[in-house]
């Protein structure tokens, strides 16, 4: 990404805290070149200078991250004014937070949902897994109890059953991820075509549901790994 793009695509507006020049959310004042504080409503996409697309080039993102780090980092503002030091700290911490969120596909999707007004969805079991989940939770409890009193054979049986289930859950997780990432393309094209709000909502709802299933299965995987 070119620096020109980076410097223009900000969400905040106001005037330079140093020279008073009118700004529309640039990282640095175009007149006196001083670093500016972050406006309160800036989101990560806007901060980095990206549209809210979900497919993004991770290498390009890293490049932008490094380039902006070199502009914002507190190391380079040691002898600047208190206001500039504060602004450097704000911008570099926001940059780090943004990079951490956007470079991870799942975190990126979750973040987009929160920007679009979705609350973090409750962890829900996928309907086709409901029965199996019930069974698995029984087995987890069984294993815990067996560890306390039962014989080796009994434990081995439950362990084997859980291990099989675990492999199945991991496959399921990969499947969900695939479906989730397929929605990324949907979202990007909806965004590109500036489609109706109802169409946007359909994609977002789907992603929200997939994320809630994903979170549920991950918890289950964690619980099983723990008892094993």
């Amino acid at each position: 990404m070119s620096e020109a793009v980076v410097n223009k695509a900000q969400a905040s507006s106001g005037s330079c805290s140093h020279c008073g020049a009118v700004l529309s959310g640039e990282h640095f004042c175009g007149t006196c070149n001083r670093i500016q504080p972050v406006a309160s409503q800036t989101d990560f996409f806007a901060f980095i200078g990206l549209p809210r697309r979900l497919r993004l080039d991770e290498l390009e993102l890293e490049k932008t991250f490094y380039a902006l780090s070199r502009q914002f980092h507190p190391d380079y503002f040691m002898s600047a004014s208190e206001a500039e030091r504060q602004a450097s700290m704000e911008r570099s911490s926001m940059l780090n937070d943004a990079y951490r969120t956007l470079r991870d596909r799942v975190a990126r999707a979750q973040y987009l949902l929160s920007l679009e007004g979705y609350k973090e969805a409750e962890k829900k079991a996928p309907p086709d897994l409901l029965e199996e989940v019930f069974e698995l939770n029984m087995q987890i409890e069984e294993l815990k109890a067996a560890r306390k009193m039962a014989g080796e054979d009994e434990i081995a049986d439950v362990v084997a059953a859980l291990e099989t289930a675990l492999a199945g859950l991991r496959t399921k997780l990969a499947e969900i991820d695939e479906r989730l990432f397929a929605q990324f393309d949907q979202w990007d094209s909806v965004l590109e075509n500036d489609s109706a709000a109802t169409e946007k909502k359909i994609v977002l709802d789907r992603m929200s549901e997939l994320l809630s299933h994903r979170a549920y299965i991950r918890n289950l995987v964690r619980d099983i790994t723990e008892v094993l």
Binding site: Y66, H73, P74, D75, Y76, M89, S93, N96, D97
Partner: protein, 622 residues
């Protein structure tokens, strides 16, 4: 907090920023020279200052480094070593350590340890400050300018309290600490490894008391830490303790008892086994013998390795965890760098090589490489260069206490710093005006298993129905890895005052008081040094005057002048016996003035005599 200027040397203030490695065993200071980073050495070429502080309350005498080490055996109760292990800790944390060191802990050490030394109590930041002050003096002397700014390194796995304690120590030593840098990261700067476009580097740092592993990505001059892990309680000290236990056990079998409770004997054994450990990095077998005790034993490297195998094994868990966190296989690591004195041990190198399947780098002196890296970072901060940038991470997750004693993570470990998180708080009952917030650090789920960082109360909330107030609290981990907290009332936009009480560590008031204390102490030190110097000079002057009076006075000057000199001499003698260096200086000058004329005459005579001699010898040669 302003740094109180201890301008004792009268030197001009320097704009230089030095890099300091404040180690468990040794400390050193380095700077950026024209040809790269350099350690500052003493007259005998030593860069390392042993991290040992000796204090005698009767004489009010303070010694640091070699001189303090010399007294470990003769006066073991008066010297503190390995103080780094106690930084940012409370008494409940250190029971295990205490069984291995002869230190007396003062009462009231729950939140900050106090070492009882005679009638005075010193906290770990104060002890560290004495070491830092020594390094600062060394640097100031070297440059002929007062050094006041520094970068200080800490183990990457240090928590907030330990970092803050280190910063406090710098402050107490009259240093403005521009940055706390992680040791493995600093080492990677010194190694550079910038001869290729991109590399993944693992830094394995096993020092005197702590272990760190950091995995970095180096690309275009950016040193990005991907993951870090470690154990702030694992290092050379633990290896020494294994050997000490071995010797103590065998002595007991021989019928000696009480070796552990006799601090002088304990230090004798400690000194001896440290030498054994060093020897075994060079030879296959060596002798252990203890001064003043009938004990001798051969120790082979193989036996030594089996004694410490589990300690070395304990470093591999964090290595694997860091790899996992960075989402890398050992095979994806391009370079492995060894840092810290304990990596001289062949067995350590062997195990590291096996894990990463790669020959580790040992080119740079493992004792000095961290300070050299700190000097490079100091140069960056001083504005010397912009081609390098360190992007470090926080080693531990930050969380807040929620219902049922569960910790909700708000900043995950290995997040690049500065990092921030905002949380919205509200009230539980109508008209509640304060909300308690408890901040913790650690990876576990329950409050009881994490490290308490601070507790604070959001105060002055206007009385409203429960759940209505919206207070946004912003947690920011700065580039030092240290937490700051601010809060804002979303309805009124008003900033809230937050009084953060550190759970472990010194409050600002305590530091202010210590600053004054150490200021007085510095004055006291200075006064003593001045007195010693004045006395030395007085001795020289008195001896010369006595000699002149005895040999020449009757021949060369009047009786009146002779009496004047004798009187001045007596007065100086009297001042010499006192404690007032200003008076000694005055009397030196008075004696100088009184004997000035006599000195001139003698000088003239000496010149004449010399000329006469030369003529004679020239004649003889001719």
């Amino acid at each position: 907090m302003p740094v109180i200027e201890l301008s004792m040397s009268g030197l001009p203030q320097s704009g230089r920023v030095v890099g300091i490695d404040l180690g468990t065993t040794n400390s050193l200071v380095a700077f950026m020279g024209d040809d790269g980073p350099e350690a500052i050495r003493d007259e005998s070429g030593n860069a390392l200052v042993p991290s040992i502080v000796y204090y005698d309350d009767n004489e009010d005498r303070l010694l640091v480094g070699e001189e303090a080490r010399d007294r470990l055996i003769t006066e073991p109760r008066k010297a503190i070593y390995s103080v780094k292990r106690f930084m940012g800790k409370g008494s409940a944390d250190i029971q295990e350590d205490l069984s291995l060191v002869p230190f007396q802990i003062a009462p009231d050490s729950e939140q900050v340890i106090g070492f009882q030394m005679g009638d005075r109590v010193f906290t770990p930041p104060e002890i560290s400050a004495f070491i830092l002050r020594d390094l600062r003096r060394r640097a100031s002397k070297f440059f002929g300018e007062e050094v006041t700014q520094a970068v200080i390194t800490v183990p990457a796995y240090f928590n907030d309290a330990q970092r803050q304690a280190t910063k406090d120590a710098g402050h107490l030593a009259g240093l403005e600490v521009l940055r706390i840098v992680n040791e493995p990261t600093a080492a990677s700067l010194a190694y550079g490894i910038d001869n290729r476009d991109e590399a993944i580097v693992a830094v394995y740092d096993l020092g005197g008391g702590t272990f760190d592993i950091s995995i970095l990505k180096l690309k275009d001059g950016i040193f990005e830490v991907l993951a870090t892990n470690g154990d702030t309680h694992l290092g050379g000290d633990d290896i020494d303790n294994r050997l000490i236990s071995l010797v103590l056990g065998e002595l007991e079998q021989q019928g000696y008892s009480g070796g552990a409770s006799d601090p002088a004997m304990f230090q004798g054994i400690r000194k001896s086994v440290i030498k054994t450990k060093h020897d075994l990095s060079e030879c296959d077998t060596t002798q252990i013998s203890i001064d003043g005790v009938e004990y001798e034993r051969e120790l082979a490297r193989a036996e030594f390795e089996s004694l410490i195998a589990d300690l070395v094994e304990r470093t591999l868990g964090p290595c694997k965890q860091a790899l996992k966190d960075a989402d890398l296989d050992p095979a994806q690591i391009d370079e492995v760098v060894m840092v810290g004195g304990s990596t001289r041990i062949p067995f350590v190198r062997k195990r590291v090589k096996e894990l990463f399947k790669r020959e580790p780098h040992i080119e740079l002196n493992p004792d000095e490489v961290v300070a050299l890296g700190a000097a490079i970072q100091a140069d960056v901060l001083a504005g010397g260069r912009r081609d390098l940038l360190l992007l470090d991470v926080t080693p531990l997750s930050l969380g807040i206490e929620t219902m049922g004693g569960v910790v909700a993570k708000i900043i995950n470990r290995n997040s690049t710093i500065p990092a921030s998180a905002s949380e919205m708080f509200t009230t539980w009952v109508d008209n509640q005006t304060g909300i308690d917030v408890h901040v913790l650090q650690g990876e576990r789920e329950m409050v009881a298993d994490c490290r308490s960082l601070a507790k604070f109360t959001l105060k002055g909330i206007p009385p409203q129905p429960a759940g209505l107030p919206r207070i946004e609290v912003k947690f920011l981990i700065d580039a030092n890895g240290i937490l700051t907290v601010s809060a804002r009332d979303h309805r009124t936009g008003q900033e809230h005052s937050i009084e953060v009480k550190p759970s472990y560590g010194l409050t600002d008031e305590q530091i202010e008081k210590m600053l004054l204390d150490s200021f007085e102490f510095a004055e006291e030190d200075l006064r003593k040094r001045q007195l010693v110097e004045a006395r030395n000079e007085a001795e020289t002057v008195m001896r010369a005057a006595e000699k002149a009076l005895a040999e020449h006075a009757t021949r060369l000057i009047s009786e009146q002048e002779r009496d004047g000199i004798s009187r001045a001499l007596d007065e100086l003698r009297q001042a010499f016996g006192g404690e007032d260096y200003v008076l000694v200086r005055e009397k030196i000058k008075a004696l100088d003035d009184a004997s000035h004329h006599l000195a001139e005459i003698i000088m003239d005579g000496a010149v004449l005599a010399a000329l006469k001699d030369r003529k004679a010898s020239e004649v003889a040669e001719g």
